[in-house]
């Protein structure tokens, strides 16, 4: 089995390869600059390079897995397809009107909070039809009007995809299905997204949004995946291509082309899955992952060996009601700028210097002090080991930080430490919000650190949160690609099943689950997965009657009376954990039933060894600052490769490796595990 995994990021495309050698299974990785205009070019080059590196022929590749930001960028840069939208008459403006609330309460020049740009008024039509909450037809579908509207949208407005969201389609989808039949008969090539297939749940604005995004991404994703498959075929790779979904599982090209919204947040999900695998191998069931790069910090939670997902996520300001790894993004990274307000208050970010002009130390014209500049002043980063071999100017960093310090009466070193404290505390706050809203205490978790700045700032953040263990992966830069290798092919199915629990007949629930199961297996078989290797998980969304938000709890197979009782108990327990109270006597109801089918691609349990990398030796020690006093202490500096198995390095220490620098703060110690990961432990807190 030769699996190639590719993570296409904004700056670099990381590639991992898992392959066989006579000595056993090995893992290699490499980096290739990303090609922004057509990301497929950089990807194909990267795949060629890794195959050369491990001396494998393209034909030997059995699986190609990848994570992509194509969907994310299409939305950020407003480069999606031209979408036409059909809604129930009277609701044609739902996409643009939204719910009417705003995020910044004291702003007088507020901005629209809805994605009206996907389909402005001229590309939206109201359709005469109406289905009631109980599924009965109040107004029959005006088929002629549908045909006229579709013709008009295609011929006059030149739409490339159609989004259809009719009221109560999740109760009875017959009108939506008929709309597609009519549209497809007129224009067989026109992609049509139906809301009951995308997001079969009530609240029309939220469902409309996701359906619109699905249609918006279709032309972009189809073109991208088509191009990708062609180029890989030309390069001699004939294997199945899988793409990471926002939920943290893989899906075939076929499945993604049909449901492109599932890959909107493909990129960041892979990193979390990689961290999940590492944490698991390290024996940590509960972990918080922190991916801190130049402009932002991504935080996610792993509880009991599973990455937490949400179905109530957002992208920019827009609701995105689809399962996704629950990643919180904060505008806090190495490039975050420190600034002083009119009353002598010190702040960091959310503005970032980005990579152009970048931190002051980049010498590209940036003069404002950033977190990275502060890291240089504190002695954490060395000009000799800067990521990507960049040449940097430490004096510029000092000048910039000194300037900030002068405004608030601090020395350069104190100011640098202050900048770190502020950014670290903000990330700690973000982490608390992520964990506490789920009812978890961060102190019960380990911190997995990656991204350029993650291992630099991570332990200070851990201290802020009272966490005592942390992991820095063997290759923090390649973690996303590694995550793809660890992921499973996953398909989720859901159906609305609204019924008080007391009235629910186990046989009917079982019947509904069987239908979901059949759909899930069908999709696996389409990907040539042997049905016997597929695992299925069943869950139910339950809530107190009267509440609007549900909790998802597992339910056993097959469904029987006892199984329901157990699910109910799990619901109460979960409600108590998340909300701090529960009422065993209050009536509760089922809302949705869900299944997740998964298939693990790498089913081999033999250990994997890692290919090493080489770096020059640093000076044995240098002065660093670890507290607000601004005092420097002589600190050991060493290469990760030079830490022997079993050796314990006591902090303070700085550990360099090819793609990152780990700061081991005083009070922490560090060793290397068999996988090459750094394990950091805080000694009894001082």
């Amino acid at each position: 089995m030769t699996i190639v995994a590719v993570d296409i990021g904004g700056t670099f495309t990381d590639v991992c390869c898992l392959y066989e050698t006579p000595e056993g299974r090995r893992l290699s990785w490499t980096k290739e600059p990303s090609t922004r205009k057509n990301p497929v070019e950089g990807m194909v080059r990267g795949v060629g390079r890794i195959l050369e590196q491990v001396a494998a022929a393209p034909g030997e590749v059995t699986h190609l897995l990848h994570g992509t930001t194509v969907g994310t960028n299409a939305v950020l840069e407003r480069r999606g397809g031209r979408v036409g939208m059909l809604s129930t008459e009277g609701f044609e403006d739902t996409l643009e009107l939204g719910r009417g609330d705003r995020a910044e309460i004291y702003r007088l020049d507020s901005e629209p909070q809805t994605p009206g740009f996907i389909a402005p008024g001229r590309r939206r039509r109201g359709i005469r039809e109406r289905i009631a909450a109980d599924g009965s037809v109040v107004v029959p579908l005006d088929e002629e009007q549908v045909a006229t509207a579709v013709r008009d949208l295609v011929e006059r407005e030149r739409v490339e995809a159609l989004a259809v969201c009719l009221l109560f389609s999740f109760v009875d989808p017959r009108h939506e299905i008929r709309v597609r039949e009519i549209a497809t008969k007129l224009y067989p090539e026109l992609p049509v997204s139906l809301s009951h297939e995308v997001d079969p749940v009530f609240r029309e604005y939220e469902r409309t949004c996701l359906t619109a995004f699905d249609a918006y991404l279709r032309p972009v994703m189809s073109a991208y995946l088509g191009n990708l498959t062609d180029r890989l075929r030309q390069a001699g790779i004939a294997s199945e291509v899988f793409t990471m979904q926002s939920r943290g599982g893989l899906a075939s090209t076929r499945a993604i082309a049909r449901r492109p919204f599932t890959a909107l947040l493909s990129g960041p999900a892979a990193g979390v899955v990689g961290a999940l695998k590492l944490a698991g191998a390290g024996g940590f069931e509960n972990a918080i992952t922190l991916d801190m790069g130049g402009t932002s910090a991504d935080i996610a939670l792993i509880a009991k060996g599973k990455a937490l997902t949400t179905s109530q996520g957002r992208f920019e300001r827009y609701p995105l009601r689809t399962p996704m790894v629950d990643i919180s993004t904060l505008g806090a990274g190495g490039g975050s700028i420190a600034w002083v307000d009119g009353a002598g208050g010190l702040h960091v970010g959310p503005q970032s210097a980005g990579s152009e002009p970048g931190p002051a130390c980049y010498g590209r014209g940036g003069t404002e002090a950033t977190v990275t500049d502060a890291s240089i002043v504190l002695g954490y980063l060395s000009p000799d080991y800067f990521a990507g071999g960049l040449r940097i100017d430490p004096d510029a960093a000092w000048r910039a930080v000194e300037g900030v310090g002068a405004k608030v009466g601090l020395t350069a070193v104190q100011a640098a430490y202050g900048i770190h404290s502020i950014v670290n505390a903000r990330i700690a706050d973000g982490t608390r919000l992520v964990s506490l809203k789920r009812g978890y205490d961060p102190r019960d978790f380990s911190l997995v650190l990656f991204g350029g700045a993650g291992p630099v700032n991570g332990l200070a953040i851990a201290e802020e949160l009272g966490m005592t263990t942390a992991v820095v992966p063997f290759a923090p830069g390649a973690l996303c690609a590694y995550g793809l290798l660890a992921a499973s092919v996953e398909y989720d199915e859901a159906t609305t099943f609204k019924l008080p629990v007391d009235e629910a007949d186990p046989a009917r629930i079982e019947e509904a689950f069987r239908r979901l199961n059949a759909h899930g297996l069908e999709r696996m078989v389409a990907d040539r997965v042997p049905p016997g290797d597929v695992t299925a998980i069943r869950t139910a969304d339950i809530r107190y009657i009267g509440q609007s938000f549900e909790l998802e709890v597992p339910i056993g197979t097959p469904v029987d009376k006892e199984g329901i009782t157990r699910a109910v108990a799990a619901f109460h327990a979960s409600h108590r954990r998340v909300y701090g109270h529960a009422d065993e006597t209050a009536p509760i109801e089922f809302v949705n039933l869900r299944t997740v089918h998964s298939y693990r691609i790498d089913r081999d349990t033999r250990p994997v060894t890692f290919a090493p990398s080489a770096l020059p030796k640093p000076k044995a020690s240098r002065p660093c600052c670890f507290d607000a006093s601004g005092r420097f202490v002589e600190t050991t500096a060493l290469l990760r490769a030079d830490i022997a198995a079993g050796q314990v390095v006591a902090g303070p220490a700085i550990i360099h490796q090819a793609d990152s620098t780990t700061v081991v703060r005083p009070g922490w110690s560090c060793k290397v595990d068999t996988q090459g990961n750094l394990l950091l432990v805080r000694e009894a807190s001082k």
């Binding site: 009277g90 009107l97 705003r102 004291y106 007088l108 507020s110 010190l346 404290s421 509440q547 607000a628």
Partner: protein
């Protein structure tokens, strides 16, 4: 104890995060559609002395309501007498409440054996009793008709609920289950604050926390003063009008404001505003702070940390027994629209001094209706509350936003599907209202049209709204937006245009159509970019007729701009420019509908 800028910033962020966590807890635990879908609820944290420390992103009206509530609570229950697990509650508008339906819950937070802060949560209950369902009685003439008033009381004593208080509430409200669920959600929010603030104090120590809180206020005060200093010194005045008080429907109510800016201080004087009204348009004592605080925060910069320090440079003079500060037993339940009009007047006073900051008037008042539905077949009594926004005013460089809550409110509309799943109501439309945005070089945001039909039984509705008579004003040559309107379409087809504050009765098959106002325009319409006007026509925001009459854009049969006719029409319009900075339009009920 000296506080360094680093710790200050770290703790400030932490407190903001806790306030937000309270709000999340509240919305997710709530039972009524008003809270869980509508978001008509808010959270904040207060110091032991009764000052705001941090606020969640919520409703500005509520956030200010906590000030008098905490003050009255401390007067009745000194902090020294409080115990861990206590929960205090109030809704009496004359003892720190806002109006009867808003229940305020206050949870003391302990550290080192004494009260060090308070977690506060407010939620608009579906019903608190009184003369009509929803306790929003448009024609009340005394507070006694508005429902059950609870003075500040101790709802939980050291962790134990006072059953008597609950039984009294249960007996007096129409939907006790929903009220109970929502009250528990408020308490859960308060406890969230207690848990996290205690942890924060553990981390930094009580001494440090007690020094930090005033330091946070001082910091915000300094920033606010610096921002006020940039407003030119002077006295600025403005008058705006409320439609009526719900009783004397033909009498407009005068809101007069006088703002004196001198150095880093502002004085807000409401002398000259009308006396308190017979109907419930009055602000309760302290209610005037909501629009004043909103305007101060909005003008000095939304990035200044929100706490009591922001309001130290501010002085308020409110005449007693007036529409802006009533005395018991005047009714107050419909005070929200008054507060919004006060915000309009305050911004109007400064609109000519800060034209780049202050937009034209926004829609001015959400349309909200409380329904009491009786279904004879099943003997069911249901209570439903609907609320939806209009368009915001155009800025000096950007159009207003359609259907967008502003100034004192921040509710969400109730999804049609949520309404129909729970009530015998069909929502026939929720769509933009063409031509409702005030014309201007920058156009006001659009209002919406929302049509509801009663499917079963009968309903008694308290409809609330304002700006049914005077439209949202335009600025710098911009035109006013369309005013709010409500039309009842009877099941036999008869149409009735009704004023904003009225109690209505619907029979099965009757429909209620609410049309919200659009924002005022900014700058002369004939200066608007012709392409922007064409886009508006194509997107259904402006009709061809109005494109021609207001904007001077003539569109041909082929859908393109007719250049010569347009140039001519624009030249004519340029001659008629009045040069007035504030365009208030005509006053009258349903003028836009009459024109149709």
């Amino acid at each position: 104890m000296k506080i360094d800028p680093v710790t200050l910033e770290v703790v400030r962020n932490r407190l903001d995060a806790i306030a937000q966590e309270m709000q999340n807890t509240l919305v997710r635990c709530a039972f009524s559609t008003t809270l869980k879908e509508g978001g008509d609820c808010s959270c904040a944290m207060f110091s032991a002395k009764g000052e705001v420390i941090a606020q969640a992103t919520a409703n500005p009206t509520h956030l200010t309501s906590f000030l008098p509530a905490v003050e009255h609570m401390l007067r009745r229950y000194p902090a020294a007498t409080m115990r861990e697990g206590d929960v205090y509650m109030v809704n009496d508008p004359y003892e720190g409440g806002s109006h009867i339906p808003d229940i305020i819950v206050i949870v003391p937070i302990f550290a080192g054996g004494k009260v060090s802060a308070f977690g506060c949560a407010l939620g608009h209950m579906l019903d608190m009793g009184g003369k009509s369902a929803g306790s929003m009685i448009t024609d009340a003439t005394e507070i006694f008709q508005e429902g059950l008033a609870l003075p500040v009381c101790k709802f939980f004593d050291a962790g134990r609920m006072d059953e008597t208080i609950w039984r009294i509430i249960e007996r007096n409200v129409r939907v006790p289950k929903a009220v109970y669920g929502d009250a528990m959600a408020l308490i859960a929010a308060g406890r969230t604050a207690a848990a996290h603030v205690s942890a924060l104090i553990d981390h930094y120590g009580l001494d440090a926390f007690e020094a930090l809180v005033p330091a946070l206020m001082d910091h915000s005060e300094r920033l606010t003063r610096a921002a006020i200093q940039k407003i030119p010194d002077g006295v600025y005045e403005f008058v705006d009008w409320l439609d009526n008080d719900g009783i004397d429907l033909d009498r407009r109510i005068r809101i007069q404001v006088r703002i004196e800016v001198s150095g880093s201080e502002m004085h807000f004087d409401f002398t000259g505003s009308d006396p308190q009204s017979r109907g419930p348009a009055n602000c309760p004592p302290g209610g005037i702070l909501a629009p004043v605080h909103f305007v101060v925060r909005a003008l000095t910069g939304h990035d200044i940390p929100s706490n009591s320090g922001c309001f130290r440079p501010v002085r308020v003079t409110a005449p007693p027994r007036s529409i802006v500060s009533a005395e018991r037993p005047a009714p107050v339940c419909i005070r929200y629209h008054t507060m919004k009009r006060i915000a309009d007047a305050l911004l109007g006073a400064l609109a000519t001094v800060m034209p780049e900051r202050i937009p034209a008037a926004p829609y001015g008042s959400d349309l909200s209706d409380s329904w009491g539905i009786y279904v004879p077949e099943t003997h069911e009594h249901l209570v439903f509350m609907d609320i939806f926004a209009g368009g915001t005013g155009a800025g000096s460089a950007s159009d207003g936003v359609d259907h967008h809550s502003c100034d004192l409110g921040n509710s969400r509309n109730i999804p049609a599907e949520a309404v129909e799943l729970e009530y015998p109501i069909r929502v026939w439309s929720h769509k933009k209202r063409i031509d409702s945005g005030g014309a201007g070089r920058f156009r006001g945001g659009l209002g919406i049209e929302r049509e509801l039909e009663l499917l079963k039984g009968e309903a008694s509705i308290s409809a609330r709204g304002d700006r049914h008579y005077s439209p949202p004003w335009g600025v710098n040559g911009g035109k006013p937006g369309a005013r709010n309107a409500i039309v009842v379409v009877r099941n036999d087809g008869r149409r009735e245009i009704v004023p904003g504050r009225v109690r209505l009765h619907l029979q099965t098959g009757d429909r209620l159509v609410g049309m919200t106002a659009g924002g005022g325009g900014n700058g002369e319409p004939w200066r608007r970019d012709p392409e922007a006007v064409l886009d508006d026509v194509l997107d259904g925001k402006v009709s061809r007729a109005k494109a021609e009459s207001f904007y001077g854009i003539v569109i041909g049969a082929d859908g393109a701009i007719v250049q010569t006719a347009t140039a001519q029409r624009r030249a004519e319009l340029a001659k008629t420019t009045s040069g007035e900075q504030i365009d208030r339009g005509e006053t009258g009920l349903g003028l836009e509908l009459a024109a149709d």
